[in-house]
Subunit: 227 residues, 2 copies
Amino acid sequence: MSDVSLGATHRTLRDEVTAELRRRIMSGEFGQGERLVEDRLAALLGVSRNPVRESIRVLAAEGFVQVVPRFGATVATLSAEEGDELFDVRMAVEGLAARLAARKRTTASAERLRRVLEEARQAVDEGRLDAVADLNTAFHLAVGEAAGNSYLNLMMTPMLQRAQWVFSQTAAARGPHSWSEHLSLYEAIAAGDEDEAQARAVAHVAAARRSFLTAVGRANRTKHAIN
Amino acid sequence: MSDVSLGATHRTLRDEVTAELRRRIMSGEFGQGERLVEDRLAALLGVSRNPVRESIRVLAAEGFVQVVPRFGATVATLSAEEGDELFDVRMAVEGLAARLAARKRTTASAERLRRVLEEARQAVDEGRLDAVADLNTAFHLAVGEAAGNSYLNLMMTPMLQRAQWVFSQTAAARGPHSWSEHLSLYEAIAAGDEDEAQARAVAHVAAARRSFLTAVGRANRTKHAIN
DNA sequence: ATGTTAGGTCTTGTATACAGTGTCCGAACT
DNA sequence: AGTTCGGACACTGTATACAAGACCTAACAT
């Protein structure tokens, strides 16, 4: 009996439904405010209503859908203001994550961060944009894991998914700056400099916020409001 | 059509099951690591397995239960270390909440905070200890609401419930100091002093951590480890 | 013309039934 | 005596069925 059986051994239908619904919401295939009818989703995914219902509850807890009793679930709406609010939370949470990651750094966690950075570099070179977005989230999540705080991780996972959603919904994009900022953050963590790590993480999120606000401004000028 | 229909109009069975299971976990009636068999919970609460299953998924997202596919759900275990880790997260998150609450203060939110403080004072006078614990959480949550950040609120609700759980599980208790700290935090928020509000919130959580660590130390000395 | 009410339809909420998988225990074999 | 294999049991995963409520429409009355 090995210890490899850490959850991911089995993957239930419901897990896949949850992931698939989340993916379709994040990709914009399910638009904001769109009604999520259990029957149709079940038919669409070739399953019964039960896994769909349970998935919807999870996605509601993550903030991706809003559920009104006896009415149903709709994809959450994301005003520009709500999108902006997320950055305040991220600065606080990710700043802490970076600080703790620097404090508790291990060779294993540093190795993991470096590996994600390397994968991202390749994806950028090959122009795989969707992979870049996923790897961006993966890097931030890896910092959270390096912090070694279980509850911090539990809350960071949906938070970062939401952040990715916010970016994709606003057609906001960050250039190569983002990855140099990641590298710089990694170095501070690897050096064990808590203050610097936190400062760089906060600055990185602040830079992301500026990109977001620019994109929102652009959208407003072209009459394509975020919501 | 009034705008009063804000979610809480209807209360489904599943909502009550979720609340009831959470309550029994937080009260210790369902001990850490205890297996949660769907059939038995359904029979216990007089419902079918479906509401129970959905509730378990929600509680898993909140971190109260751990679900292993094809094995089942168990009440999450809470080591002393994990309990302590929560305070780091709380300081970051609640510090932000206090700062934003001070920034966006309104007469309505200030009134609401004052009302909770008043209710708590009465509960303390009347010696209703369980109500005091709930009102403690309610105050912290009210600060979160006063911050006017929807996602911050979404994550604070389960975080504060978990904090209450940590305290009750360790038999940690805080005296009247806690409420004078609350009052002091309220005043900083009402005065709109962001820096002071954040500092007092952080100090308050830090004080709670000291109480927790004292209780854990006491438990360890008496051979009653938290887990 | 407008308000109201009754019916039908759509969708959620809940329960029950079935299938599949893992666990545990005992018996047979080494 | 220890080990391994097999089968019964228990529980989860998934599907289907039924109940109840909400919304929409249309006919009717005022």
